[in-house]
Structure formats: structure tokens, C-alpha cells
Amino acid sequence: MGKYEIRLSGSGGQGLITGGIILAEAAILDGKNAVQTQSYGPEARGGASKAEVIISTDKIDFPKVRDCDIFLSLTQKSFDQYGKNVKENGIIIVDESIDTRNENKVIYSLPIIDTAYNVLGKPMVLNIVALGVIAAITNVVSRNALEEAVLNRVPKGTEELNKKALEMGYSIGKNAIK
């Protein structure tokens, strides 16, 4: 398939806009075209936030996501607010804390928040764990490109932590599709 529309949603402060930027940068490293947009309220924390990425082998005209191929949600509020426009064969990845209300689609409900908060003990890498999960399940970007994009973006001194977060995300994703 030539074009993926991806929506990452959660609450402000979870790093999803950075996550969207990293995903788009990974796609460019893979030699593809990418556009990233976002929508957020005036508040700095909380609220429902979303970052959108379109990855394509062609030129991308309209930059906003309409019906997504890949939908990530890390909070109930964002799932309820942004989870409606997913394609029939779209992939939904949610944190295990979310009640998906028997949504009749393929849903991967995984311990993304728990992995960042409790296993790694670093809430700040939540977005990186989520990116690892997405890449493992969907192959929307290559693993090498994603790792390079993560390392290009994260603050100095946090490289090992982020690599570990990415790796854990990958293994959660890989196990989910077994």
C-alpha cells in the first residue's frame, strides 16, 4: 500500500506530537514522503491531544488525516473523541486501560502505559514505547529508520533509555501479532 494515514491520540503532555514528528522523520529516512499536523487546545497539559502523520510514496496534498489506517489511543477521552474515523480494515492500538466498548474492529489492547511507568519507571518514554508497538504491528516504518529518528530527537544522555523503550515497545507489538 502506498499511503498510510496515522492518528496518535492521548492527553497533552504524553509526548504524542513529538511521537508524530519522530514517525514522520523515520518515514523520510525510509525515503518516503511524510506530513505531520497536530491539533491541541490552549492548555499545556491535559485535554485531548492528537498528532497526525501521513506517510506516502506519492505527493501528499491534503495534510490532515481523514479516515485513518492506524489509530493509537492512550486515554479514554481521546479514544472516545478521535476513535470514530478509522477505516474498515484499519488497525487500532490502545492502552489496556481503555474500554473500547466492543468496537467491531481489530484492536490491540496492550500495556503501553504500564511498560513506561512501571517496567521502565520513566513516564517520559511513553511515546517511544508506543512508537515501538506501532512499528512492530504495522511495519509502517522500518526499525532502523525509527531507531535513528528516535536518537536524532531525544535529549543527550537519554539515548540508552530511549533505545530500551523502543525495544520493549517492539517486543510487546511482536508478541501481540504472534
Partner: protein, 377 residues
């Protein structure tokens, strides 16, 4: 060789373009959704020997860039609707005193504070007539990150060439969007600098125009006698109440853009050759228009697009030609109908005119344009 492609935000591309064009001074009062332009300027200007200053408000930052430009430094400020309103007084000053400068307005939903983080295109008429009195202005509207880079350079070039304030009229969609870009090599970029006096200091008259209606410009501090005022002035730059002199001045500053209009205007058209319907839009909406055109063409509906790149002066000549052979124009804009007034004036009743307007803070989606077109077919 490693690819030069990278992900870049529209606001960042604006700063990259400005620096490539020679901007060495930025004064601003940050406001969403233009804030990144101030941030990137603060970060990047010191690295090239430039200066960044955050002023106490929008009016002062406009004044600061006028002062810096008079001293010979290419200068820019950036704002959004509320700040653009405040800058208007000094934009008029720059227009009358013929001071080159670039003003970026990343449009958001308004009036007043409005929806601060949401896109709109409600400043199209403000860009033209925001300051009082008859005055020249040029406004450019980019619709991609790469084009933001290119048009910021063009904004500086036009402002230097014609000694006129140039508005880079962006919108939140283009300002905040990040997309893949490859920037050109600096050696490939054409840079225009203001015309300098060819006469001695004794002979120099700062407001005596050449045949092209543009007066050569000395820098403050170079030793040329140079008086600048917002009052009507004669060729020496000193105030006058003489009606004949004032008349000549006002007409000249407007005419200098009008006479060069054909060199200044720029637009992009796609699939207009066989089009029955042409969508007219600028900025972020033009991206929705492209998708709408492609999807309607797949259904066999002959749709083209016409995108003014200079929204002021409006590229009217070509539109007159197109009006003779299309059935309808669709003007899509994130306001309640501003650019459409200009289109209406130009096409008269030669073709049907359909409006697509949205002011709820959301982008216009391709489907909304397509539905309107399918309704009228």
C-alpha cells in the same frame, strides 16, 4: 551522498528563508500560531551575526524593524491576527516612508482573541486595507513548507526592490504543518538588495524617484542627509502641506506597485485547459482543493485549480481569460467570503460563482469542496 530531505515546519521554513534572503534583524512579540518564527529567529540569528529582540508589544516590534531597515539591515516581524491589527499603524508608516520590511501574519481564527490555536484566513482584506489611507502593499500566500521558504525570500526581494512592506500571509495549517522538504543550495537563490544612491551626498534627495518610481535608498549613518516622517513629504523627506506635492507622492507610492504589477503577480494553475469548474483557493485550503480536484477528475468531472500566490496584487488578468471559458468558479476560503469579493469584481457575471466558507476553527476538507461542486453540477 546523504539526502538533503528533512522534516520541517512551515514556521521554521519561514525563518530559514528569511536568513537565506539576508534577514539580520527580527523584532517580535510572540503569538500563537506564529511563535515558532520568533523562537527559530532567536536561535538562528545570533549564529549569522544577526540580532533578535522581543519587544514590549506588537506596535513597538513593528517600529523596531522599520528603524533597523532604515539603518540598512533586512528586517522581519511575525504575528497573528490580533497582533497584525496592532501593527497596522506602523505598516502604514513603512508604506509612506517607503521602508522595506517583511511582516509575517500566521492567520488564526478571529476576530479578537478568537480560537487562538485554530486556522483561519480572515485577514485577507486586512492584509490589503488594514492600515488607513491609500497605500501600496504586497501579500504572498504559501501553501507548502517549501513554498514558505521560497516566498519568504521573495517577500524580502520584493520589499527591497520596491521599497514597500510585504506581508507573508500564512495560515495555521501551513505554519504548524511539518513536511518533507529539500531546500535549495544557497548559491541557487536569487537575492535582491535595495537600490543605493548613485549621486554624491550633497546631491542626494531621499524621496526623488527614478523613472521606475522607486527612489534609491541610503542607509542611516552612511552620511547622506535623510529625513523620515509619516507626514506627507517632498523629495527631501521633510514635511509639506503643498497639495500638488502630496498628490504626487501618494500617487507615486501606489503607482510604483501598480506599474510593476505584471512582474510582481504570481499564481499557479492546474488542469485549467479543459476545466469546466475551477477551484480558487490559497494557503492550507489549496491543499484540500488539490485533493478535491484529483478525486473529482477520477469521477470524470473536469475540475482545475487556480491559486493566487500573490494575493495582493491579485493575479487578475489570467482570471479574466479563464472566466470566458469555464462554467463556474468555486472560491474556498476559511472566512465568510473575502477573496471571493475580489474574484467577483474580476469575473463579473461571466461565470457562476460558488462559495465554500468555514469559520469554526477547522480546516476545509476536500469532501466539503467536492460536495458543493457535485451539488451544482
Amino acid at each position: 551522498m546523504k539526502s538533503k530531505a528533512r522534516l520541517m515546519q512551515g514556521n521554521e521554513a519561514c525563518v530559514e528563508g528569511a536568513i537565506a534572503a539576508g534577514m539580520r534583524f527580527f523584532a517580535g512579540y510572540p503569538i500563537t500560531p506564529s511563535t515558532e518564527i520568533a523562537e527559530f529567529s532567536a536561535e538562528k540569528l545570533p549564529l549569522v551575526g544577526g540580532r533578535f529582540i522581543q519587544m514590549e508589544d506588537e506596535i513597538a516590534s513593528m517600529a523596531a524593524i522599520i528603524g533597523a531597515s532604515l539603518a540598512g539591515v533586512k528586517s522581519m516581524t511575525a504575528t497573528s491576527g490580533p497582533g497584525f491589527s496592532l501593527k497596522q499603524e506602523n505598516i502604514g508608516y513603512a508604506a509612506l516612508a517607503e521602508v522595506p520590511c517583511v511582516i509575517v501574519d500566521v492567520q488564526r481564527s478571529g476576530p479578537s482573541t478568537g480560537l487562538p490555536t485554530s486556522p483561519a484566513q480572515g485577514d485577507i482584506m486586512q492584509a490589503r486595507w488594514g492600515t488607513h489611507g491609500d497605500h501600496p502593499i504586497i501579500a504572498l500566500t504559501p501553501s507548502s513548507v517549501r513554498e514558505t521558504f521560497d516566498l519568504t525570500i521573495k517577500a524580502f526581494n520584493l520589499s527591497e526592490k520596491y521599497r514597500v512592506p510585504v506581508i507573508l500571509l500564512m495560515d495555521e495549517i501551513i505554519g504548524h504543518m511539518r513536511e518533507r522538504v529539500e531546500l535549495p543550495d544557497i548559491s541557487e537563490i536569487e537575492i535582491i538588495n535595495r537600490k543605493k544612491p548613485a549621486v554624491s551626498r550633497e546631491e542626494y534627495l531621499p524621496y526623488k524617484a527614478d523613472d521606475d518610481l522607486i527612489p534609491p535608498m541610503a542607509c542611516y549613518g552612511e552620511g547622506y542627509r535623510f529625513h523620515v516622517t509619516g507626514l506627507a513629504h517632498d523629495e527631501t523627506g521633510f514635511p509639506t502641506n503643498n497639495p500638488a506635492v502630496a498628490d504626487k507622492l501618494y500617487r507615486r507610492i501606489v503607482d510604483k506597485i501598480e506599474f510593476h504589477k505584471d512582474e510582481i503577480v504570481e499564481w499557479e494553475e492546474q488542469n485549467t485547459d479543459d476545466a469546466d469548474i475551477i477551484i480558487i483557493s490559497v494557503g492550507g485550503v489549496a491543499r484540500a482543493a488539490d485533493t478535491a480536484m484529483k478525486q473529482l477528475r477520477e469521477k470524470g468531472i473536469k475540475v482545475g485549480t487556480y491559486r493566487p500566490i500573490t494575493v495582493w496584487p491579485f493575479p487578475d488578468k489570467r482570471l479574466v481569460e479563464l472566466a470566458d471559458r469555464v462554467k463556474a468558479f468555486v472560491v474556498a476560503e476559511m472566512n465568510l467570503g473575502q477573496m471571493v469579493l475580489e474574484v467577483e469584481r474580476i469575473i463579473k457575471d461571466k461565470a457562476k460563482l460558488i462559495k465554500v466558507n468555514k469559520v469554526n476553527g477547522e480546516a476545509i476538507y476536500p469532501e466539503e469542496i467536492m460536495e458543493k461542486i457535485e451539488e451544482v453540477l
